[in-house]
Amino acid sequence: MAVAFDIGLIVLLVGIGAWMIVVRDVVVATIIFVVYGLLMAIAWVRLSAVDVALTEAAIGSGIAGMLLLGAAARLKGTDASGTRLSFPMTIVAAVLCAVISASLAAVMLLPTHAAPTLAPLAMQNLDQTGLGNPVAAVLFAYRALDTLLEKVVLLLALVGVWSLAPDRAWGGAPSLDNYVPPSDILAFFAQILPPFGIVFAIYMTWTGATNPGGAFQGGTVLAVMWLLVMMAGIMRAPSIGNAWLRWLLVAGPALFLVVGLAGFFIAAGFLAYPPAYAKALIVVVEIALAISIAATLGLLAAGPPERMQ
């Protein structure tokens, strides 16, 4: 029965993916993308990757969906049709993509020998990190450099988005309050949902040390709650020149870097932790990162500043 469920889920996923590509209306295509993201979370659960399922549900559908829908709604009136490929070229592209799919599928169907795995190694050293969740150990101990650089990439992307602002709006605030027409029911919703969301975000960040979850997932939920409150007009979007905001954005990566550099003196090297304090240090870094991630993701989804405050 489990196999039947998997097949059903896969048929639905591929069907929805194909539908997203062929559907005419760009707003509907974006909605299908959000639905696809929500279903993808179930697929990750089936692959025993609960951490990834949480991330996919939070980012892949929620925050990315809002970003893309906002863009699709804005482009609705404009003539966004570029030059369409000629029919023969479309056929050539279809054949090319079919060949790529078929070869990937062939690789998947080849009899597998012992698959390479780092799982035993990850479990062996788990005690030294003090964590119970091997994925968190990979993210914050074994491959901490990747995670640190990823935070830098997020900040760079935000700098890129901000630099697209027109000159007159520089130093202003992104406008979110005209995204959804304000109504009392939306305001009510934006007052009901965030308390649940914030509790869940704190739980996610905290439980990430031992169970699936962590700073990414917690931070994304916080970002979503922040966006909702701003969309409902309960809280105004901050101006990008705000000193507090700038500190919030860099606090997580900066603390991570400081802890990493301290590793030279108190442990084996850069981004190494002394085993006795490893868990405490990682949890502190995760909390700071969750706050910075929330601010960065929220502002990335809010887009470049558009008006002066």
Binding site: V27, I31, V50, A73, F200, N211
Partner: protein, 94 residues
């Protein structure tokens, strides 16, 4: 018991699939706004069934995440489609 739970999950997945085709095929914008709600309830039911069937309690967290984010996505859908809905209402009046 797991077999039965997987079967129920597959069954609910089927109802979601039929509902999705109906909703997303509709010409009315308001129908599209329901998509997140449909996945929100059906997907949560599937995840809860999977959590018990595979004996993986953390999957319940994914269900909670899905419910939370589906609610947010619904707000985004209403925002993204509002212009379209009002334009269609005008078309209707003509």
């Amino acid at each position: 018991m797991p077999e039965f739970l997987f079967g129920a999950a597959l069954f609910i997945l089927g109802t979601i699939a039929v509902g999705l085709v109906r909703i997303l095929h509709s010409r009315q914008a308001a129908d599209c706004m329901m998509a997140a709600q449909l996945i929100g309830t059906g997907g949560v039911a599937i995840l809860l069934l999977l959590a018990v069937a595979t004996d993986a309690p953390p999957v319940v967290d994914v269900a909670l995440m899905l419910a939370l984010l589906a609610a947010f996505a619904s707000v985004a859908f209403v925002g993204g489609l509002q212009g379209k809905a009002s334009a269609q209402a005008e078309d209707h009046r003509k």
